[in-house]
């Protein structure tokens, strides 16, 4: 009984307290302190997350599941970065210096591995976008044609060429210039869709939060009690 009631009660009280803190200025301190507690819990979650990552990948290696050599790379990279950062190896200022000090192994890992790898992954997008656009953007039906037209206008509108192509338009038809059409698509058509998604997400968050505060949603207790 206590294993269920106490956490549910605690969650409800904290949830209601945070809702109240949003509306009453005098409760700013509560809001700030609880956010700090959240940060402390989140820091502990990093340890749990790291442990879970190592456990999962070692299990994959042990059972020789598909792609297991990549798991070795993941675990080695994780442990190397963790040890280099925790013990500040190569840090000229020793334990007192910042973890990312120049010359440290941690800094080297970031500069020589993480940085170029992330940049490469993101750069590859240009090639995939080009290839995918060529194959997917076909005027197969009305919806696809509309999407194709919008994509072409946005692509051209984000460059100098878009303005150049429609610079001959008279002043009274300036709203038809590609940059203006591009802005209209972004600030009207896109806006309507994006706003609908945001409102939908907001309503979903309110609904889920209410279910948690009222104790209806209990899956966070571990699943069996939900």
């Amino acid at each position: 009984m206590i294993r269920v009631t106490l956490p549910v009660l605690l969650t409800s009280v904290i949830g209601l307290l945070l809702v109240a803190a949003f509306f009453f200025r005098g409760m700013d301190r509560v809001n700030s302190d609880l956010s700090e507690y959240f940060n402390i819990i989140a820091a502990v979650a990093f340890i749990l997350g790291g442990g879970n990552l190592v456990r999962m990948h070692l299990d994959k290696v042990q059972r020789r599941r598909p792609g297991w050599p990549y798991s070795i790379v993941t675990v080695v990279a994780f442990l190397f970065t963790l040890i280099a950062g925790l013990f500040k190896i190569g840090n000229a200022q020793g334990w007192t210096g910042p973890v990312e000090a120049q010359g440290s192994w941690f800094n080297f890992t970031y500069d020589a591995m993480f940085n170029p790898l992330q940049a490469t992954m993101f750069s590859l997008l240009a090639f995939f976008v080009a290839s995918a656009s060529y194959r997917a953007f076909r005027a197969r039906n009305v919806e696809a044609t509309l999407l194709l037209g919008a994509a072409l206008i946005i692509l051209l509108g984000r460059t100098f060429v878009g303005g150049l192509l429609t610079s001959w338009l008279p002043e009274r038809l300036a709203f038809l210039s590609i940059p203006n059409l591009s802005n209209w698509i972004m600030s009207t058509v896109n806006l309507a869709g994006a706003r609908a998604i945001i409102i939908g997400i907001g309503l979903g968050v309110i609904s889920t939060s209410l279910k948690i505060i009222l104790g209806i949603e209990r899956s966070y207790l571990g699943g069996r009690e939900s």
């Binding site: 809001n31 700090e36 959240f38 989140a42 910042p98 080009a130 039906n141 984000r158 460059t159 060429v161």
Partner: protein, 287 residues
């Protein structure tokens, strides 16, 4: 003709990769650049900073990692140059662990080179990284020094002259988030700007920009979207402050390859559709 279009329709993707590579490399080598016209959504940010009185406080949050440096870094540098030119007090920070080197980079490339006379801790401060995502903004809302107790050098922020009179987010005059995801602009609006009535502006990647239009113009005073947005800010900065012409041109230069790459992608889309219609495939698809 039909055979040619058929071959076009079945083009090996490696030809597309080669075309894109050339479309980026050649303009980069040739230093191809095009004129950039600043749109109102970017101009608003410039006007806001330009109109702020000396000594106004501005949070500049670098919430991005190395993958989006080509888009985000020119924005960060241009905004920082402008703010320091106007003698605003700048509070640099990041909510991303991978944002620390970005702050170090602007310290070296902008603060040390362009503004060596501005003192750390007095005219600007690097508050570094704080874990906790939106929780950090929420904590800073009512206790800013509590959320960022030390700067990047480990100094107690309460001893720094720049922190005089700074107790909460409401004590700032502007928040600018240069970001590329979560936590980023949305969180600064929801937990920082909106509750404290401090204006928020942002510079984000082209991918994220469409998601932020719903906040403009009431909750977001301006938005720099992708490399184009960065180039627009650089263009207006250089127009008003020509002394930065040599150093604030990164995004403008990169717009050359981006423009050519866009044109190549458009050419492939048109080719693909011509092959689609020439092959008669569309008749079956539309039925």
């Amino acid at each position: 003709m039909s055979a040619f279009m058929d071959r076009v329709g079945r083009m090996d993707r490696r030809w597309i990769y080669l075309a894109i590579a050339l479309a980026v490399i050649i303009p980069l080598i040739a230093r191809l650049s095009f004129p950039v016209i600043t749109t109102p959504i970017v101009q608003n940010i410039f006007d806001k900073i330009d109109g702020m009185p000396e000594g106004s406080r501005m949070i500049l949050s670098a919430d991005f990692g190395p993958s989006t440096v080509p888009e985000n870094m020119p924005m960060l540098q241009a905004v920082l140059r402008h703010a320091l030119q106007k003698k605003l007090k700048v509070y640099l920070l990041t909510l991303w662990a991978t944002g620390i080197p970005q702050l170090d980079a602007v310290e070296q490339n902008v603060l040390a080179k362009d503004f060596p006379d501005r003192l750390a801790g007095q005219d600007w401060v690097n508050l570094g990284y704080k874990a906790g995502n939106q929780g950090v903004i929420n904590a800073a809302f009512s206790d800013f020094p509590g959320a960022f107790p030390v700067d990047s050098k480990g100094r107690d922020v309460r001893t720094l002259p720049i922190m005089e009179g700074v107790k909460r987010i409401a004590d700032f005059n502007l928040i600018i988030c240069i970001g590329s995801g979560f936590p980023g602009t949305k969180e600064w609006i929801q937990f920082g700007g909106d509750p404290s009535h401090v204006p928020v502006a942002c510079g984000v990647t082209a991918v994220e920009a469409p998601l932020l239009y719903p906040y403009y113009p009431r909750q977001l005073l301006g938005l720099m979207g992708g490399l184009q947005g960065a180039a627009e800010y650089e263009a207006v900065l250089v127009k008003h402050y020509p002394e930065y012409e040599a150093r604030s041109q990164e995004a403008i230069q990169r717009m050359g390859p981006q423009t050519v790459a866009h044109l190549v992608i458009i050419a492939f889309i048109v080719l693909g559709n011509l092959a689609f219609f020439a092959g008669g495939e569309w008749r079956g698809k539309r039925a």
